[in-house]
């Protein structure tokens, strides 16, 4: 369809207006708000929708308020290869006129309702309503993304291009398959509905059947148990009956043997009495024999112990004496050891003294050297104190000297030089000052003088001539500088105490020498006093060694200026004879340290020997004491045992006498003999009776009867137990019969079979439904991917001209854009910015338009107020896009902002006036 023109008269606020559109390309209809742009779209819809006699309120709405006029709309359009001119007026002077020019030029016209019906038929025949609604964007709807899946022209185009048949014809099947699937399965694939219920019913029936079966199995078990119990009971009854017969036989036999057993019991009783009596007499005899034996044994034992006691006392005494002797020997050795320790101490003292003296000698030499060093330090210090010259002073003197020379040179160059020669005899007197000091007062003959006049020079020949030469003003200045320099030099020389610079240099050299000497002497002093002041150590040693004997001093070396030195030597030479009196060692040389050390070693060996002797003696004493203690203890024990033996002997004698007082020894023997004879007689009688019992089997009969009764009792118990068990089992079986357990089991099996059959049937159907659903869904998904490809390609192609090559889209089942990817970022469309959504919506519509443009069902793309959210750059790109899209179809844009579309190439702008 192409819309060529649209004319409105008395339509809402529009009095009269006609707008012509480009059949191909973009027409931009510009007008301010309320000018009636949207009325154009509304009018086009109404003319096909409502007949001229329509009572719809929508017709009333388009009538200008307060005007009794009939709204009128006329349209020129191409539709299905025909050219239509269609006009309609509602309300007042209603009319409808339709003129159609066929492709071959034939013309047909209708009026009234026929015109409306024909126009409506043609519109619906050639314009797909979904596509029409999709591509017509009403005001405020520009953000809505189109969902064009049901637009037939689009489907036709997509199918033609993708080669995938449209599934539209199969949609009822798809719906039916889904419906069938959802009868058995949830959308997530879980069993549901009757299918799920039947599975539960099967589980419940299985449980019921299993329980019923178990009950029947228990019945079967009870039946087998009862059969077994019956057999067992029959067997026990037989055995019990047989056994009771043998019990009766045993009872008869036992009656016959009971008399013999009574007699035997009587004899046994008498035998027991006689045996007890005999045992009593025998015990009395044994007691008597024991007492006699004790008296004899203790008598002998007491005598032996008395002898042992005397021997032990003697041994103890000897041991005590041995202890005393050992203790005396120990005391001697102790004394010897003390002496040896004293000797060692004296030798140690001697060695120590000799070592102290050697140290004292070394310290004295060191002190002499220290005195000398300190004298050298004092001398050098004195020299250095006197010399006031140092490197700085010498440098200053040299600078002053140079200043004087320099000033003089300048003066010499700046003052008149006067040469005076005496030529004649007349004295020539000179006065004044030259540069170099005083001038000669007079000149001899032919003597000449050359004077540099720095001040005033008077040359006179007395009486004849006086010439005064004065230096100029500059000379005075130069002179003054010379004087200053000289004065400064003098001051420095005075300060240094020298007469000139050379002397100062000599003094400086001496000072360096003295400093070197001082430093070396101080190092020596430091090394000599490194171990402390020798004087202190000397004083300590001197004090330790004690005062010297003056008488012994002669001929001994002395150390000058060192107090106490001499007495040291005296003491060193003094012998200590008494220290070595007790030793068999040679007298050492007075100062022979080695000899003294040897003496000390000998003394220590003697002490060690004494200590060994002492240890031996102590051991001997300990041994002797231990032996003495043991012997004393042994003696005490022997005494105690002897006394105890005496006591026991006395006790035994006393007991024997008491027993004899009751019955003498012979009486005891006679009583025992008599009791023995009585026992033998009764036992003989018992033997006879036992032989009689044995012959009658009396003992076995009683045992057999007791055993038989026990067996009978056990069998009766066994029978009773079996009877009880049988009664219980039969009771249960009777109950199970009353309960009809077999019928219950059969009913449960029947129910299970029924629900299982039902479930199996549902299972087959459910699996079939699932198989169909999954197979169809998979093929639909594959087809969908292929099917959406043409539109997807168009959208991406158009979109890339705006967004660049990374632009991609994905479509859903309704061919609507679901996701967009840009620069690798994929987003759902509802996550895009408003502007991007609007641009995507426009791009999608242009793509749809492009796809259907070649088919019969193409319709104009109409945007009523769009691109309100795009920036300038996007407007430029979108404008270019709209221009390209116009090459394939009719695009109509209604806007109050024409600048949004200024970038649309080849667009026709139509301005609507109010």
């Amino acid at each position: 369809m192409r819309l060529h023109s649209l004319a409105l008269r008395d339509f809402r606020g529009v009095k009269e207006r006609i707008v012509r559109f480009r059949a191909l390309g973009t027409t931009v209809v510009v007008g301010d708000n309320e000018v009636g742009k949207s009325s154009l779209v509304e009018a086009f819809g109404l003319i096909f929708e409502l007949p001229d006699d329509s009572k719809s309120t929508r017709i009333r709405d388009i009538q200008p308020v307060g005007q009794d006029v009939g709204p009128e709309v006329s349209a020129e359009l191409s539709l299905g290869g025909r050219e239509l001119t269609y006009s309609k007026r509602w309300l007042k002077n209603r009319s409808t006129e339709l003129t159609i020019v066929e492709a071959d030029g034939r013309r047909q016209s209708w009026t009234g309702r026929e015109a409306h019906n024909e126009a409506e038929r043609l519109f619906h025949e050639h314009v797909d309503p979904v596509l029409w609604q999709t591509l017509m964007v009403s005001q405020g709807q520009s953000l809505v993304l189109p969902t064009p899946a049901d637009a037939e022209p689009l489907i036709t185009a997509v199918t033609a291009e993708s080669g995938t048949p449209v599934d539209g014809a199969s949609m009822p099947l798809v719906t039916a398959v889904e419906h069938e699937y959802l009868r058995y399965w949830t959308p997530r694939g879980k069993p549901t509905g009757d299918y799920a219920r039947s599975a539960k019913a099967v589980s419940a029936a299985e449980l019921a059947a299993a329980q019923a079966l178990q009950a029947m199995e228990e019945v079967q078990s009870d039946i087998r148990r009862a059969e077994r119990l019956n057999l067992d009971l029959s067997d026990v009854d037989t055995r019990l009956s047989d056994h009771l017969k043998s019990v009766e036989e045993l009872r008869e036999r036992k009656k016959a043997t009971d008399e013999i057993l009574l007699r035997r019991d009587s004899v046994r009783s008498r035998a027991e009495t006689a045996r007890a009596r005999l045992e009593n007499h025998t015990r009395t005899r044994l007691d008597r024999e024991r007492l006699l034996d004790e008296v004899e044994r203790f008598t002998k034992f007491e005598a032996e112990l008395a002898t042992k006691r005397a021997d032990a006392d003697l041994v103890a005494k000897t041991a005590a004496e041995t202890v005393q002797a050992a203790e005396a020997a120990l005391a001697e050795v102790v004394e010897l050891k003390d002496l040896r320790r004293t000797d060692v101490q004296a030798a140690e003292r001697r060695v120590s003294d000799l070592m102290d003296r050697a140290e004292l000698d070394r310290l004295l030499g060191q002190q002499t050297e220290l005195v000398d060093v300190r004298a050298r330090i004092a001398a050098a210090g004195t020299i250095l104190d006197r010399i006031k010259v140092d490197d700085a002073i010498v440098a200053a003197l040299e600078d002053a000297r140079a200043a004087v020379v320099e000033a003089r040179a300048a003066l010499a160059a700046g003052v008149p030089e006067v040469s005076v020669r005496r030529l004649g005899a007349e004295p020539v007197e000179l006065s004044g000052t030259g540069l170099d000091g005083a001038v000669p007062s007079e000149l001899g003959f032919d003597e000449a003088a050359e004077v540099l006049v720095s001040g005033e020079l008077v040359i006179g020949v007395p009486g004849q001539l006086e010439v005064t030469v004065r230096a100029g003003g500059e000379a005075a200045t130069l002179r003054s500088r010379v004087d200053d320099a000289v004065r400064r030099e003098k001051d420095l020389l005075k300060k240094a105490g020298v007469k000139d610079v050379a002397a100062a240099r000599e003094l400086l050299r001496k000072a360096d020498t003295a400093t070197a000497e001082l430093n070396e002497a101080r190092r020596t002093e430091k090394s000599l006093t490194a171990g402390g002041d020798p004087g202190e150590r000397i004083a300590v040693l001197t004090a330790r060694l004690g005062p010297e004997d003056d008488a012994e001093e002669a001929g001994k070396p002395a150390v000058e200026g060192v107090p106490g030195q001499m007495s040291l030597f005296e003491e060193f030479a003094s012998p200590h004879d008494t220290l070595f009196d007790d030793f068999d060692v040679p007298e050492p040389e007075a100062d022979d340290l080695a000899a003294a050390q040897q003496t000390l070693d000998s003394a220590r060996e003697a002490l060690a020997e004494a200590e060994r002797l002492l240890s031996d003696a102590e051991f001997a004493v300990a041994q002797a004491r231990k032996a003495a203690d043991e012997d004393r203890s042994e003696a005490q024990n022997a005494r105690a045992r002897s006394e105890l033996a005496g006591e026991r002997l006395a006790s035994a004698v006393e007991a024997l006498e008491a027993a004899r007082a009751v019955l003498d020894d012979d009486g005891v023997s006679a009583a025992e003999t008599e009791a023995t004879a009585e026992v033998e007689a009764v036992l003989e009688e018992l033997t006879v009776v036992q032989e009689q019992a044995d012959a009658a089997g009396a003992d076995q009969v009683a045992g057999e009867l007791a055993h038989a009764l026990a067996v009978a009792k056990r069998l009766q118990g066994e029978r009773d137990t079996l009877r009880d068990a049988l009664r219980t089992t039969e009771g249960r079986l009777e109950q199970s019969g009353r309960d009809g357990l077999a019928t219950r089991r059969d009913v449960a099996d029947l129910e299970l079979a029924a629900v299982r059959a039902e479930h199996d049937s549902l299972e087959r159907r459910a699996q079939a439904a699932r198989r169909v659903y999954e197979t169809l869904s998979r093929h639909r998904a594959e087809a969908q991917t292929k099917y959406s490809e043409p539109l997807q390609t168009r959208i991406e192609s158009l979109g890339r001209s705006v967004y660049g090559p990374s632009f991609k889209v994905w479509l859903d089942d309704d061919l609507a854009v679901a996701e967009r990817e840009l620069d690798g970022i994929r987003l759902r469309v509802d996550a895009l910015s408003t502007g991007a959504q609007e641009q995507l919506a426009i791009i999608t519509r242009l793509a749809i338009s492009h796809l259907v443009s070649t088919g019969e069902g193409s319709v104009p793309v109409i945007f009523d107020d769009a691109l309100g959210w795009s920036d300038k750059a996007r407007l430029r790109d979108m404008g270019a896009l709209l221009g390209r899209a116009g090459d394939h179809g009719q695009i109509i844009i209604l806007t109050c902002m024409p600048d949004r579309y200024e970038y649309v190439p080849k667009a026709t702008f139509i301005k609507l006036d109010a």
């Binding site: 599934d167 099947l173 019969g737 079939a768 639909r780």
Partner: protein, 375 residues
């Protein structure tokens, strides 16, 4: 005995039996039919002048049947106007907890009914002795009939009837898991005059073993495998002669039917077969089928069987012998005018079925039906 004696021989009433293939309604009607057949035995007794009725075992399906079954059995027995002798069989053995010794039975058993609990001869009529070999356990250790006649000697002038229950050695094919009845010994006892008739139970088909040895068969069919069920035997013994005549008392049928299905004609033949069967509401059909059918015919077959299932007591595909497969052809698919994914999906299922995928067959049938209904 100078005159002839006529009595009825029946067995294997199996009262309380259930059949899962009948469904709840069929089960109820069939159960009642088994009692009705007992009542008809009473009618036959009256009509034939039978002196008594003997039932050789398995009167009840179990010893633990529900009370209702016992009471209804007693009511049915009351419909028999002559003495009835019942022999405990393997299903209702005289074992501990036996129905026959239960208070329920003893409280309601009609007076003219005697249960053989011993092997001692029982004088039922002048000159007529019944000896029985009741089962005392479900697992007898030896020939279950032998205790009934082993110690007997011929007694001239007395008609002696042995009632026994069990499979004959000659008929069991060696498949029995319990001791069988020694047919040779039985025939010897008949031959030497100790027994004049041997009434046997356990085999549900009426079976003549010899002139004087018979299985009466069940009074009402219990399985399609049974050859001649639903009879009672009218036995007339005269001096030196015997006449045994099966009289039908059953009303139900259980039928196996094998078909080959491959085209519309075979479907039609099956429809005709169903149409010709009598007593549909009292008939159970077990179908064995083989072949392959195009999807429309398969749908038609399914619909037909479903419909017959409503008419008959039960119609069942015999799972073990039902191998009818869908065989979709190109015309089937074309007729649905499917396109796109739907067509591709159906084609995939068709190929899977051709490759032996059984599940694909059911799916294909379903999809065919849905497509047909949706179209």
């Amino acid at each position: 005995m100078d005159e002839s004696i006529t009595f009825l021989h029946s067995s294997d009433w199996q009262l309380g039996m259930m059949r899962r293939f009948l469904g709840p309604d069929g089960q109820a009607r069939w159960g009642q039919a088994r009692l009705d057949a007992v009542a008809r035995i009473g009618e036959v007794a009256e009509q034939t002048g039978a002196a008594f009725v003997v039932v050789t075992g398995d009167v009840f399906e179990h010893n633990q049947v529900e009370r209702q079954t016992i009471l209804r059995a007693c009511e049915a027995l009351k419909r028999i106007p002559v003495p009835v002798v019942l022999l405990p069989g393997n299903h209702d053995a005289l074992e501990p907890g036996s129905l026959w010794t239960s208070s329920q039975w003893q409280a309601h058993a009609p007076e003219h009914v005697t249960v053989l609990t011993e092997t001692t001869p029982f004088r039922i009529a002048p000159g007529v002795e019944i000896v029985g070999a009741p089962w005392r356990s479900r697992r007898p250790l030896s020939d279950p009939a032998a205790p009934g006649y082993a110690d007997l000697a011929p007694e001239p002038g007395i008609v002696r009837i042995l009632l026994a229950h069990g499979q004959l050695t000659s008929l069991s094919g060696g498949m029995s898991d319990v001791p069988t009845i020694d047919q040779t010994a039985l025939e010897a006892a008949v031959a030497d005059g100790r027994l004049q008739y041997v009434g046997l139970g356990d085999r549900h088909s009426t079976t003549k073993v010899t002139d004087r040895i018979w299985f009466s068969g069940t009074q009402e069919v219990t399985s399609p495998e049974e050859d001649a069920p639903g009879n009672v035997l009218k036995v007339t013994i005269a001096a030196g002669a015997i006449e045994v005549e099966p009289v039908r008392v059953g009303a139900w049928h259980m039928v196996d039917h094998r078909v080959e299905l491959f085209d519309e004609e075979s479907i039609k033949a099956l429809e005709d077969w169903f149409a010709e069967l009598p007593d549909k509401e009292r008939t159970y059909v077990r179908l064995a089928g083989d072949g392959s059918l195009p999807l429309p015919l398969l749908s038609r077959l399914d619909a037909m069987i479903d419909a017959q299932g409503e008419v008959f007591a039960s119609v069942e595909r015999w799972a073990k012998f039902w191998t009818v497969r869908p065989a979709p052809d190109a015309a089937d698919l074309e007729s649905l005018q499917l396109s796109g994914p739907a067509r591709a999906a159906m084609e995939e299922l068709r190929q899977a079925l051709a490759g032996g995928d059984e599940g694909a067959g059911a799916a294909l049938s379903l999809m065919h039906r849905l497509a047909r209904d949706a179209g």
